[in-house]
C-alpha cells in the first residue's frame, strides 16, 4: 500500500468535486457532508462524463452528462442503470492532510 499526500482538507469544499491528476489517471475527490473524503476514477462508465462536476447527495454523485447515480462508497452505478467505477481509499490524518491510498496493483504512477 502506497500513500500519496494530495492536499489539505481545507482545499476541499463540501459536496463539491475536485480533480486529482494521479499519473495517467484522473480522479474525482469529494468531501462528503460527514467530513470523509472519497475518490473515484473521474469517468462515468456511461459516456465518460466527468464525475468531479456532478451534484453530490449524501454518498452519491450524479454524472453531469446524463444523470447516472453512482455510490461513492463502492463505485457502483445505481439502478436502473448498471456499471461501476474504480474507487480509491482516502484517509484524512489528524493534521487534516488528505492522503490517497493506492495498492501496488492500481497504481500507474511510474
Amino acid at each position: 500500500m502506497n500513500e500519496f499526500k494530495i492536499g489539505h482538507i481545507s482545499e476541499f469544499p463540501e459536496r463539491r468535486g475536485r480533480v486529482i491528476l494521479f499519473g495517467e489517471i484522473e480522479l474525482a475527490m469529494f468531501k462528503l457532508s460527514d467530513g470523509t473524503v472519497r475518490a473515484v476514477e473521474n469517468r462515468c462508465p456511461h459516456k465518460n462524463g466527468k464525475l468531479s462536476e456532478g451534484i453530490v447527495c449524501d454518498h452519491h454523485v450524479y454524472c453531469p452528462l446524463h444523470d447516472w447515480k453512482i455510490d461513492l462508497h463502492d463505485g457502483l452505478v445505481q439502478a436502473p442503470d448498471d456499471g461501476c467505477v474504480e474507487t480509491y481509499p482516502v484517509l484524512v490524518d489528524d493534521n487534516g492532510n488528505v492522503i490517497l491510498q493506492v495498492s501496488g496493483a492500481n497504481s500507474k504512477v511510474s
Binding site: F4, E11, R16, R18, I55, Y62, K69, P80, L100, V109
Partner: protein, 818 residues
C-alpha cells in the same frame, strides 16, 4: 451427464427462450449459443434510440457478457454457423468450430430485404438492421447531408427519424400511396404524415425506385416515372425476410420461413426454431410479442414441462412513431360487410376507428391516444357481440367515457408470459414477480425494478392495472407526484413552506418537509436552490453545490468535458476593440472553435476548465450567461438606426432590456428579442418575450419558443413608450419567476396557466409596479460572476486540478501543487 443444447442465433427471441428455460430447469442442459454479431444480446427495437443519441450500445444490451458467464453459457460471438449435420448432430461455424448437440434451436432471425436495384452495391447503400448499420449512419451524417430512406413502413420511419436527429435532410420514398399501410388506415396515415412533415421529414409517395445513381458512391436515386432525387446515403428499409438458408441447406423443410409444428419442432427430430425465422401455420411473425410467446412455449417443451403447445398469436401493434402513439389490431380496413365507428379530432390530433362485423369488434386503429388499445385488443380476442350497442365500445354504456371491460378483467385475461412492455420485453409475470417478491407498490418502483414502462411509457396504464389487480386497489400507493423522487410535496407546497416558514437553505427545506433522502437528489437540489433565491433574494445564500455543473462553473460543459465561453454582447452589437480582444484570447488559449451563436454572440468552444478564469480576466467582458437558467440574449434587428423600414430604435430598446435584466435567474432560460417593424427580422414572436415595433408604439408578445417545442408567442399588450416596455417586461418576468415550476420554459408555463391568467396578473399598474419592485430588488443584488471568480482566490481554486506527487516518498516533502 447433462444434455447439450445448442442455439444458432443470439437475438431477442432466442435468448428470451433460454432465459425462460433456465428459470424452469436450470441444470438440464449445457448451453452453447452461436451469434454472428460480435455483441451480447441487445434490444434491436431500441436501435433507433441509439441513432437518436438517447441511448448507446451499453444501454440497449439486454443480457451482458456476465449473464452468459453466470449461467455457464458458452457464447461463440462473432461466429456464423455454416453447416448442420443432422445425422451426426453437429453444427460447424465459419471459424471451423464443431459443436455437437442433443437439442438444436435455430433462432437465426431475419435478414433485411434488399431491393435488387441496379447500383444497390454502391458505397452509401445500407439496410437498417443492426449496430453496424447504425454506426454507418452516424459516420455518414458527419460528412454528408442528404439521406433517402426507401420504405415508409415502421422500420423506414424509425430510420428516417434517427437520420433527422443526426441532422440529415431526409426524404422517405414509399411505393404505397400512404405510410405504414400494414398498420394504419389512410386517415391515420395522413395524420402521421403531417406530424412527421412538421418534424422535418419529406415524403415521396407512390414512387417506385428504379436505379441507384453514382459512380463509386451513391449520388442519387431515380424512379420508374423518370424523376430522380439526390442522395448521399440510401437506407433500404422495405422489409425483412426470414433467415432460412442454413436450415434449407441442411435439409430442413423451409417455406417462407423454417416450418415448425405446434411444439416449434422443425421437420427434423431434435431441431426446433423460434423467432422471425420460423413459420408457424403459414405465418412468420416480425413483431416481438409473438416471438416471446413462442420462446416461452419452447422453453416449457425443452424443460420437460407439460404445455398446450403454440397456437399462433393474434397480433396487435402498439408503438410510438417519432413521439406519436399509434395502435392497430385485427382487420382494420373497411371491407364489404363491415361497419366502422370513427372519431376524428384534428384539434388534438386524435383518431379512433373500430371496425365491426356482425356486431363483433374485428379490428381497430388508434392514433394520438392509444389508451383504449389494450381493451379493444381484448374485445377482438373475446369476440363479444355488441349488436345494436356498438357505440358503447368507444363511448361507454351511457354514451360517456365509461369502460366496457374493466381493466381488472383485462389483466385477468392476459396470460403470464404476455408482453406488457414491448420496448423492454417485460412480461406480465415479471411485473407480478416484482410486486410479490420485490415488494413494489407503485408504477415507479416497478419501473426501477424491471424497466417496464421506462422507455416509451405507452404501457403505463397496463402496468398500473396489473399492480391494482395484484395488490388490490387499497394497497397500491397512488404516488402523488412530488417535485422529485425524494418527496411527495408539489412545487406549490414547497414554495409556500419556504415563504411561510422563512426557510433559507435546501437543508432546512428537506428537513422540515421530511425528504426521503437526507441530501436530496440532482433534481430537487437545483430546484430548491432556485425557489429559495426567488423567495428570499437577500437571505438565501446561493449554494454552489446545489447548482448544475454549468451554473457552478459559469460555462457550458461539452461532451468531452471541456467548456465554452460566451461573453455578453448587448443586443448583438459589438465593436472592433471587443472583437480584437476575443480574437487575441482565442488565439492565446488555442480555442479549437469560434462560432457565432443563434443569439447574436460569439461562442469560444473547447476550453479547458483551468483556462476559464484566465480567459475571463483577459476578455474583461461580462458573462453572457449562456450556461444558465437565466436571461440569455436580447436579439435585435437594426431598427430605424439603419433600416429603411424600421419604425423604432430596436437596437437601443434591446440593449436597454439586456442591461436591465442581465444576470437574472429564472426558472428556465429566457430569450428575448426586439424587432424594429412588423417584418420581425429578429424573430421576436418565438421568444420567451418578444417586442415588435409598430408605428407609434410596441407590441409585447409572450410565451413563444423556437426550440424543442415550437410555439408562437401570444400578444400580451400594445404600449407606447420604451419605459412601458421595460415595466411590462419586468412585471412579466417576475410573475414567471414567482409562479413557474423550476425548469419550465415560459412557453410551457404560459400554455399551462393560460394567457388570461398572465394578463390578469399584470392588468393594473399597481400590480405591475409591485412585481417590478421585487424584480429590481433581486437585480440589485446580482454581480458579474466571471469578475467575482477572477477577483477571488478561493473561487478560482475550484477550477484547478490537484496533482498527486510523483512518488509516495515525495509525499513527505510537502504540499501538492495547487
Amino acid at each position: 451427464m447433462k444434455k447439450k443444447l445448442v442455439m444458432i442465433g443470439n437475438g431477442m427471441a432466442g435468448v428470451s427462450f433460454v432465459e425462460q428455460l433456465l428459470k424452469l430447469n436450470p441444470h438440464r442442459y449445457d448451453i452453447t449459443i452461436i451469434g454472428a454479431e460480435p455483441h451480447p444480446n441487445y434490444n434491436r427495437i431500441m436501435l433507433s434510440s441509439v441513432l437518436a443519441g438517447d441511448a448507446n450500445m451499453q444501454d440497449i444490451v439486454l443480457n451482458d457478457w456476465d449473464w452468459y458467464r453466470n449461467n455457464n453459457i458458452t457464447l461463440l460471438a462473432g461466429q456464423t454457423a455454416t453447416a448442420i449435420d443432422t445425422a451426426a448432430k453437429t453444427v460447424t461455424t465459419d471459424k471451423k468450430e464443431v459443436v455437437s448437440y442433443d437439442e438444436l434451436v435455430i433462432a437465426s432471425g431475419s435478414l433485411p430485404f434488399m431491393l435488387p436495384l441496379p447500383g444497390a452495391d454502391k458505397e452509401g447503400v445500407i439496410a437498417f438492421r443492426d449496430i453496424k448499420d447504425c454506426e454507418t449512419m452516424i459516420e455518414t451524417s458527419k460528412k454528408y447531408r442528404k439521406a433517402v430512406v426507401i420504405g415508409g413502413g415502421l422500420l423506414g420511419l424509425e430510420a428516417a427519424r434517427g437520420l433527422i436527429n443526426l441532422n440529415m435532410e431526409v426524404k422517405v420514398v414509399h411505393i404505397h400511396g400512404y405510410l405504414m399501410e400494414r398498420q394504419l388506415d389512410e386517415t391515420a396515415a395522413r395524420m402521421l404524415q403531417s406530424e412527421l412533415e412538421r418534424q422535418g421529414m419529406q415524403f415521396l409517395l407512390s414512387k417506385q425506385s428504379d436505379t441507384i445513381l453514382g459512380k463509386k458512391r451513391v449520388t442519387g436515386l431515380s424512379f420508374k416515372d423518370g424523376s430522380q432525387v439526390e442522395a448521399d446515403l440510401i437506407v433500404m428499409a422495405v422489409g425483412i425476410k426470414p433467415n432460412v438458408q442454413l436450415a434449407k441447406d441442411s435439409g430442413i423443410e423451409v417455406n417462407r420461413g423454417i416450418v415448425v409444428d405446434d411444439h416449434l419442432q422443425t421437420s427434423v427430430q431434435n431441431i426446433y426454431s423460434v423467432g422471425e425465422c420460423a413459420e408457424h401455420r403459414g405465418i412468420a411473425y416480425g413483431l416481438v410479442a409473438p416471438l416471446y410467446e413462442q420462446g416461452a412455449i419452447l422453453a416449457k417443451q425443452l424443460a420437460g414441462v407439460e404445455n398446450e403447445g403454440y397456437h399462433g398469436s393474434v397480433v396487435s401493434t402498439k408503438l410510438k412513431v417519432s413521439g406519436v402513439n399509434v395502435f392497430s389490431a385485427g382487420r382494420f380496413t373497411d371491407e364489404p360487410g363491415t361497419k366502422a365507428l370513427r372519431v376524428q379530432d384534428d384539434l388534438d390530433g386524435i383518431y379512433k376507428k373500430v371496425v365491426f362485423q356482425n356486431g363483433k369488434v374485428v379490428g381497430a386503429v388508434l392514433f394520438g391516444d392509444t389508451a383504449d388499445g389494450s381493451r379493444l385488443f381484448s374485445l377482438i380476442r373475446k369476440g363479444e357481440d355488441f349488436s345494436g350497442r356498438e357505440k358503447e365500445v368507444l363511448f361507454g354504456p351511457s354514451g360517456g367515457a365509461g369502460a366496457v371491460v374493466s381493466s381488472a378483467d383485462l389483466v385477468a385475461d392476459m396470460s403470464g408470459d404476455e408482453i406488457v412492455c414491448g420496448c423492454n420485453g417485460i412480461t406480465k409475470d415479471t411485473i407480478i414477480e416484482a410486486i410479490t417478491e420485490q415488494s413494489c407498490v407503485s408504477v415507479n418502483e416497478i419501473k426501477a425494478c424491471t424497466k417496464a414502462s421506462g422507455s416509451c411509457g405507452g404501457c403505463k396504464p397496463l402496468v398500473e392495472a396489473i399492480l391494482t389487480s395484484t395488490l388490490g386497489a387499497d394497497n397500491v400507493k397512488t404516488i402523488k407526484e412530488g417535485i422529485c423522487g425524494c418527496t411527495k410535496h408539489s412545487r406549490d407546497e414547497v414554495v409556500e413552506a419556504i415563504k411561510k416558514m422563512h426557510l433559507t437553505t435546501t437543508k432546512e427545506v428537506m428537513h422540515v418537509m421530511e425528504w426521503d433522502n437526507p441530501e436530496g437528489c440532482s433534481k430537487c437540489r437545483p430546484a430548491l436552490n432556485y425557489y429559495l433565491g426567488m423567495a428570499w433574494p437577500e437571505e438565501h445564500e446561493d449554494e454552489l453545490e446545489s447548482r448544475f455543473v454549468n451554473e457552478r462553473n459559469h460555462a457550458n460543459i461539452q461532451k468531452d468535458g471541456t467548456f465554452s465561453v460566451v461573453p455578453r454582447i448587448y443586443g448583438g452589437v459589438t465593436t472592433p476593440e471587443d472583437l480584437k480582444k476575443i480574437a487575441t484570447v482565442a488565439e492565446k488559449y488555442n480555442v479549437p472553435m469560434v462560432k457565432f451563436t443563434g443569439g447574436q454572440r460569439i461562442d469560444l468552444l473547447g476550453v479547458k476548465k483551468e483556462d476559464l478564469p484566465h480567459m475571463w480576466r483577459e476578455l474583461d467582458m461580462p458573462s453572457g450567461y449562456a450556461y444558465g437558467k437565466a436571461l440569455r440574449t436580447v436579439k435585435t434587428c437594426v431598427g430605424n438606426t439603419f433600416c429603411r423600414f424600421g419604425t423604432q430604435d430596436a437596437i437601443k430598446m434591446g440593449i436597454d432590456m439586456e442591461k436591465k435584466f442581465e444576470r437574472l435567474n429564472t426558472p428556465h432560460k429566457v430569450k428575448l428579442a426586439v424587432s424594429g417593424c412588423p417584418r420581425n427580422c429578429s424573430e421576436a414572436t418565438i421568444k420567451d418575450l418578444g417586442v415588435v415595433a409598430i408605428d407609434g408604439g410596441w407590441e409585447i408578445h409572450v410565451g413563444g419558443n423556437g426550440g424543442m417545442k415550437l410555439r408562437a408567442a401570444e400578444l400580451l399588450v400594445k404600449v407606447k413608450t420604451e419605459e412601458e416596455v421595460l415595466e411590462w417586461t419586468g412585471a412579466y418576468l417576475q410573475f414567471y419567476r414567482e409562479t413557474a415550476n423550476f425548469a419550465e420554459r415560459t412557453s410551457e408555463w404560459a400554455g399551462r396557466i393560460g394567457l388570461g391568467a398572465i394578463k390578469k396578473a399584470l392588468e393594473t399598474k399597481e400590480d405591475r409596479e409591485a412585481l417590478v419592485a421585487r424584480i429590481d430588488k433581486t437585480l440589485a443584488l446580482t454581480k458579474d460572476p466571471w469578475q467575482q471568480i477572477v477577483e477571488s482566490d478561493d473561487l478560482r481554486k475550484a477550477f484547478d486540478a490537484l496533482t498527486a506527487p510523483a512518488s509516495p516518498e515525495a509525499a513527505a516533502a510537502g504540499d501538492a501543487a495547487i
